[in-house]
């Protein structure tokens, strides 16, 4: 009888061992109201008043993605999207729009104050956005934001897609797959190569990623098909997603044209600060102007 129970337990474990931790990979922070400059949470940096955005250029809006209401903020003039160049910012895994607001403001100063429109948004489950985060959701929600821009007249040849950390996945994905718009420029900051390399690098061994995760994120392969030129920022002291192998694998696989800015001493989250605010802005501006 004991043997039977033991065998039953083992068979049960094997049969029902579908426990996956993927849903826990996401780190969504919820909020009922965006505070933007009044956000008092921990930030990597805060910009001075010279980077303030006039209130009439900050547009909070929502759209739907697979039936879920998701929220974004457009910095600029929504009535001129049809003729403006727009930077679509795909944020990372931690926090929500408030956490990335300073970064969005930086992008709104590329080439001068409000030269380019900037759209920052929260994926499903983040900030005010409804639903639960998932890998599919970050692609679909990014797609919904691209559609929102397209509905206001934006065309792909005036779209810059910028991905930071986890946001490099949707940015790379929509640069290499057919979507509402095909971005003309791709900017990645602190990208990871793939779920598989993340597992293998963390484990030291060549493990199949299925041992750990169902995530299909594969920036290093997708980017081979990217049509947009690439600007890649990566800190040399990034201890979460190391430049080597992650950033270098992504950069090496991009067909070009491309430029890498490996920022000496920068970690995963402080590239703009360590590089220097002005240098960071200049790199992006020169990149956009060059291609």
């Amino acid at each position: 009888m004991r043997k039977l129970i033991a065998v039953g337990v083992l068979v049960g474990l094997m049969t029902f061992s579908c426990a996956r931790l993927d849903s826990f990979l996401f780190n969504p922070y919820k909020t009922d109201e965006y505070k933007l400059d009044d956000y008092d949470g921990k930030l990597q940096f805060r910009l001075g008043p010279e980077f303030d955005i006039p209130q009439d250029k900050i547009h909070l809006f929502s759209t739907t993605s697979q039936g879920y209401k998701i929220w974004g903020i457009y910095i600029g003039d929504t009535t001129t999207i049809s003729s403006d160049t727009v930077i679509l910012y795909c944020h990372g895994n931690t926090g929500h729009i408030d956490y990335y607001w300073q970064r969005a403001k930086l992008l709104a100063h590329v080439g001068g104050k409000l030269r380019y429109g900037v759209l920052i948004f929260d994926y499903r489950g983040y900030g005010k956005s409804e639903g639960e985060p998932s890998e599919e959701a970050i692609y679909e929600d990014t797609k919904a934001m691209m559609q929102w821009l397209k509905d206001r007249g934006l065309t792909g040849d005036r779209l810059v897609i910028y991905g930071y950390s986890m946001g490099t996945a949707p940015a790379t994905y929509w640069s290499s797959h057919e979507g509402p718009l095909t971005p003309r420029w791709l900017i990645l900051e602190a990208p990871f190569a793939s779920a598989e390399l993340m597992v293998q690098d963390g484990a030291y061994f060549v493990l199949p990623k299925q041992y750990v995760t169902d995530l299909e994120i594969n920036n290093a392969e997708w980017i081979k098909n990217a049509k947009a030129p690439l600007l890649l920022f990566h800190g040399t002291e990034d201890k979460l997603l190391a430049l080597d192998p992650h950033g270098k694998a992504v950069f090496d696989n991009h067909p070009g044209p491309k430029k890498a800015v490996f920022v000496e001493g920068a970690t995963h989250s402080d590239v703009p600060v360590i590089l220097g605010i002005e240098a960071y802005i200049s790199e992006i501006y020169n990149f956009i102007k060059s291609y």
């Binding site: 474990l13 426990a19 993340m198 041992y211 169902d214 979460l240 190391a242």
Partner: protein
């Protein structure tokens, strides 16, 4: 995200190294069942914990100086990865020494892992060499656990940076008539940098090399 990935990958880091081991071969014909818990130490959620790996193993004294063993990693199984550990502990040498005796054993073994989703199978050989000293119910031991990655390339055709992982190990066993308790500390991969990894591994001795693994084991003697 880092925390969970730490559990995921830290849980696999050298987890194939059996959690605790047979150091001294058991007498011929004897059997026992061993339960083990522990893994690499990681910083997680503001504290330091050993990755909670669990395994169950069966040991059989084939000869007085040769113990066969087979184990199953339960934690892996819960996540759909069948992870078997098959090996043999062979006593190379044993001699009286003062109030006890000392010995030397080797343990060639291998790990077979496969997942129930895509049935991707991997094979990892391991070779342990341990010296031990026993006084009555107490046994202390130390040696090297050697683990081998046979693949030369990893994702995106990148070169696998490390093939041979050697892990200095020390441990202690206390034995009663029916039970054996075991504690083990292992410096995992001391020659591999551990600071540029997703898991936030505990780095021993103030150096960014490897991490410390902490393991405990409880063994029930069946027919002793």
């Amino acid at each position: 995200m880092r925390g969970i990935i730490a559990i995921l990958t830290g849980g696999i880091l050298l987890s194939a190294c059996s959690v605790t081991r047979i150091v001294e071969p058991i007498p011929q014909g004897r059997q026992e069942v061993q339960f083990s818990l522990g893994g690499p130490l990681i910083h997680l959620f503001g504290t330091t914990i050993p990755t909670p790996l669990t395994s169950v193993a069966y040991n059989y004294g084939y000869r007085d100086n040769l113990t066969l063993s087979g184990g199953l990693n339960i934690t892996s199984l819960a996540f759909g990865v069948i992870h078997l550990d098959l090996g043999a502990t062979y006593g190379l040498w044993k001699d009286s020494l003062k109030s006890g005796y000392a010995g030397l054993s080797i343990r060639p073994s291998f790990y077979l892992t496969t997942d129930i989703y895509r049935w991707q199978t991997r094979f990892f050989p391991q070779f342990d060499i341990m010296g031990y000293y026993r006084i009555n119910k107490h046994l202390v031991y130390g040696g090297i656990v050697n683990f081998f990655e046979l693949k030369r390339t990893r994702a995106h055709n990148l070169t696998q940076p490390k093939i041979w992982f050697w892990n200095p190990t020390i441990g202690y066993q206390f034995e009663s008539e029916k039970w054996r308790w075991q504690m083990e500390l292992r410096w995992l991969a001391p020659d591999v940098r551990s600071d540029y990894r997703v898991p936030d591994y505990v780095q021993p001795f103030g150096k960014p090399n490897g991490t410390i693994g902490f393991y405990i084991g409880i063994t029930r003697k069946i027919n002793w």
